[in-house]
């Protein structure tokens, strides 16, 4: 494998490649690129209960997407095993800011202070993983889409609802970054 294959890819390579999933899925089986629907399909498959939102044929609607999602996991595994492991090369400003907040380990893809099984037992790890995960699941279901479905598929199709959703993504992300994370990382 050549060096470029194993190192991080520049934005102008990665971005267009991600964008190509929209035509690739449409041209294959007329499918719309969007990951978060899988959370709904999994609920429908595992615990539909008496909730109307989950009473549909998840195999016909979403098996293709669940298979795609399984691929995402495998692709992540392959990439991490084929590559040379290195720290994420973030900007010095971000490193300084995060150090001040209390993040000191920059070796992983996500900070070990928050995203390990041991850290899960701390309040800040619990908030990052469990509370964060819950908000991702609730929010994407409420907004009917996530970064892939709204920001990429939706905006590429010039859909106003997706623009509203993406503005929401950033409003929430900025609020969490500037007001919640300093409390979570710094004090807990």
């Amino acid at each position: 494998m050549t060096a470029w294959f194993n190192r991080e890819w520049p934005w102008y390579v990665a971005g267009p490649l991600i964008g190509l999933f929209v035509p690739a899925l449409l041209l294959t089986g007329n499918k719309v690129f969007g990951i978060s629907g899988n959370l709904r399909h999994l609920c429908s498959a595992i615990v539909p209960g008496k909730v109307e939102f989950f009473r549909y044929d998840w195999r016909r609607a979403g098996l293709w997407n669940l298979v795609f999602l399984a691929g995402v996991l495998i692709g992540g595994f392959l990439a991490s095993h084929l590559g040379t492991s290195h720290a994420i090369n973030i900007s010095p400003e971000t490193m300084t800011t995060l150090s001040k907040l209390g993040i000191h380990d920059f070796t992983g893809v996500a900070p070990h202070e928050l995203f390990t099984w041991q850290a899960l037992l701390t309040l800040r790890g619990f908030i990052s993983v469990v509370v964060g995960g819950f908000l991702v699941g609730f929010g994407t279901a409420y907004a009917a889409g996530c970064t892939s479905g709204h920001a990429i598929s939706g905006l590429a199709n010039f859909q106003l609802p997706s623009l509203f959703a993406v503005l929401g993504f950033f409003a929430g992300g900025l609020a969490a970054t500037y007001f919640i994370l300093p409390l979570v990382i710094g004090r807990l």
């Binding site: 934005w11 909730v51 590559g83 973030i90 609730f138 409420y142 905006l155």
Partner: protein, 162 residues
């Protein structure tokens, strides 16, 4: 809610209003495409909490370049597909179903709630799964919690403003 309302839900990936076909023969293609996506999420470092922090703090162009060029590529591809009137390999006319804005509350409120979770976990749904593949196995807990969030939304759906 029945199958007919599924096209409203973009994440479900149902592109036409018709009852989608299962088409098992296509599943290996989706697996390969998913693998490519997981690989790209890793190499682009889009799955990294650090990159998401850098983005929300406006300290690097990288994530904006990735998302922006992804949208541009998708938009140009879509325009070309529409212009050429292409059909999918499965034989359907290609169309992304229109979404109704309504009051917009669903998109702004849901989007903001997801945004909070995006910054806290440092990952959107795709990257959460790619992270598990990358060995950040504690993200399995984030998946379970996200499923709980989706389930609670489904349960409360009728009570929430849309």
């Amino acid at each position: 809610m029945t199958q007919t309302s599924l096209p409203e839900f973009e994440g479900c990936g149902v592109a036409s209003g018709e009852q989608p076909e299962l088409r098992p023969a296509f599943l290996p293609i989706y697996l390969l495409l998913g693998m490519a996506f997981g690989f790209i999420l890793t190499r682009s470092e889009v799955l990294s909490w650090f990159r998401i922090q850098e983005m929300f703090r406006f300290q690097s162009f990288r994530m904006y370049g990735i998302i922006g060029s992804a949208i541009a590529t998708a938009a140009v591809s879509l325009a070309l597909i529409k212009r050429a009137g292409l059909k999918s390999v499965s034989g359907e006319s290609i169309a992304i179903p229109a979404r109704q804005l309504g009051s917009g509350v669903q998109y702004v409120a849901g989007g903001t709630i997801f945004g909070l979770g995006w910054a806290l976990t440092g990952a959107c749904p795709g990257p959460i799964f790619a992270l598990i593949g990358n060995g950040v196995t504690v993200m399995i807990v984030a998946v379970v919690s996200a499923l709980a969030g989706t389930w609670i939304y489904g349960w409360l759906q009728a009570q929430l403003p849309h």
